[in-house]
């Protein structure tokens, strides 16, 4: 082999060693490059994914808070405009469940499982425990005892069905007053066959004649609903309201179970009986009592201002020589207002506990009402 051939061989061998070296180096470099890109890209992707998830949770929470704040404004507005009804479209919130519960004088309402609740300690709110709907209804009715004390706020939904049994006259008046609410009167022939859930979220049966009891059968049409979505409210001749819930019958089927104790409705009756209507829409006796106690709390302050008004009226008639009859009529009647105030204060804590003090409150209110009518007949200034 000559020199040139040897050199050629050496060059080829050097080149192949060189190529091998670079091939290996290239392989490592490319691999490392891709690893680096994947790692860096993954980190950046995770970073943005974290921001997106965080923002989503924050947005959901923000939406829940805004819904509850808006509800608060709506309820305040509804509450101050007495004798008004309205509807609140909630189609965009059909997947959310609104909850309402009253305890210790405070109503808490919010969205279920969202951790957002609002507390209301002044406005008496009467509603089902849960509402899941595309349209909510509200109704503000003044509680007169005998003068206007506070507005009671009733909240329900288009998919909460109320079947009314008994007392056709009251039933018709109630349906006329409630207007858009999902109410239906059933005669004795129609009950229980015509009771069915249809597409309602919950059903309540209102028995005005105290015919249904715990031993009465639950309409078969309602057996397929959840137990907590079917209830019965029963009124007796003493204006006592009793609540029942559907439950499983150990021997099969469904039955009614008593919820809490009966509660006396403290009301002077008459047109637009707000306390009775509130009892119809209230979730349970405890919710009803809790909300009514807010009304009694307000009553003691309103009674005080009417006492001052009474004193002004008395001073006015005493200063007029022609008002002898009125002066005589107004003598020694301060006790009405003092009593009303003290009895309202007692009811604020003891209402529904069976101690009976609220019946005395009812009696005092009746006396004030009669007294006011007597003053009107004598052309004296009225108490209210």
């Amino acid at each position: 082999m000559n020199y040139n051939q040897t050199n050629k061989k050496r060059r080829i061998s050097q080149k192949s060693r060189f190529d091998k070296k670079y091939k290996k180096s290239g392989q490592i470099q490319v691999t490392f490059n891709w690893l680096y890109v994947l790692l860096a890209g993954g980190v950046i992707l995770l970073f943005f994914a974290g921001i997106v998830v965080n923002q989503k949770e924050s947005a959901e929470k923000s939406l829940s808070i805004k819904i509850i704040e808006d509800l608060d404004s709506i309820f305040t507005g509804a509450y101050v405009s007495d004798k008004t009804q309205g509807e609140l479209p909630t189609a965009g919130l059909r997947d959310y469940t609104f909850t309402f519960e009253c305890s210790d004088g405070v109503t808490e309402y919010g969205l279920l499982d969202q951790g957002v609740v609002r507390q209301e300690n002044l406005i008496p709110i009467f509603s089902p425990r849960e509402i899941k709907t595309e349209k909510m209804y509200w109704w503000s009715i003044p509680y007169k005892f005998p003068f206007p004390v506070i507005n009671l706020l009733i909240i329900t939904s288009e998919n909460t069905k109320y079947y009314i049994l008994g007392d056709l006259s009251f039933s018709q008046t109630f349906i006329d007053d409630a207007k858009k609410f999902n109410l239906e009167h059933l005669s004795d022939d129609q009950y229980p066959e015509q009771v069915s859930p249809n597409k309602n979220y919950q059903v309540r049966i209102i028995d005005l004649d105290n015919k249904l009891t715990q031993d009465s059968a639950v309409p078969v049409g309602l057996h397929y609903m959840d137990n907590d979505k079917v209830s019965l409210v029963n009124f007796n001749a003493n204006s006592e309201v009793t609540y029942y819930q559907m439950t499983d019958n150990p021997v099969g089927g469904k039955m009614w179970v008593l919820v809490g104790q009966s509660v006396r409705v403290i009301s002077l009756g008459g047109e637009l009986d707000s306390a009775m209507y509130a009892a119809i829409f209230s979730a349970s006796p405890d919710d009803y009592k809790c909300a009514m106690r807010k009304a009694f709390k307000r009553m003691k302050y309103v009674a005080e201002i009417y006492f001052e008004r009474f004193n002004e009226i008395k001073d006015y008639h005493e200063s007029n020589p022609n008002d002898g009859d009125c002066v005589i009529k107004l003598q020694n009647r301060e006790s009405f207002f003092v009593l009303l105030k003290s009895q309202a204060e007692a009811c604020e804590t003891s209402y529904g506990s069976g101690l009976g003090s609220c019946l005395e409150l009812l009696e005092t209110a009746r006396k004030i009402k009669e007294y006011n009518e007597e003053l009107e007949l004598l052309s004296c200034l009225n108490i209210y």
Binding site: P148, G270, R309, E312
Partner: protein
Amino acid sequence: MSNSKINFKKGQVRITETISVLLIFFLIIVFAMIFYGNYQKTILEEKEHESFSDKAIRITTKLLSLPELACTKGDSDYESFCFDMLKLRHVNDLFKENLADYYYDLFSYSRVTVYQTYPFIDQNNPLSKLGVSDEGPWILYEKILCPEGCEWEENENKCIKVDPVVKTSCRPDKKSTYFVVSLRDETKGVPGRPEFKTGYIHVEVFK
């Protein structure tokens, strides 16, 4: 220069290039987050301002249908936008005595004053200046929130800076609304026809 040295330098340049790109990228992200944070802050401030205005309107709305003030007509509905003078004259005491228990929750930090506009007020009446005439103004409710570092001075009837040496007044941050009302007085006028005056309520809400 040998190939390896050249490649080494190329590699260095490439790595530096990659690091610079990433640095600028993250810098842009940081700027975007600062911008977003400032934007959110502005939104929150706007919302707070809106909520503050809303509060003044809500208190006014509550006042107009308050049983402690409203003109009643037996078993009929209230007279709208009407205050009963026989109640109004005593409502301040009621609110004051029961402020913590009830009325603070209703009116919060605010001041509610009722002014009479017609019949025209006799400006020379010394009782008006003392606030004890029957022509108002009537302060129905008052609970002032002084700004930070200030406190309410009862004697001066204003917010004073907490400074042992120099007493300077502070201006509370507030929002006002007004609403026209009629003032019914059954102890004036002729029997069966009470006297009606015109006035307005001034609601000041404090931040």
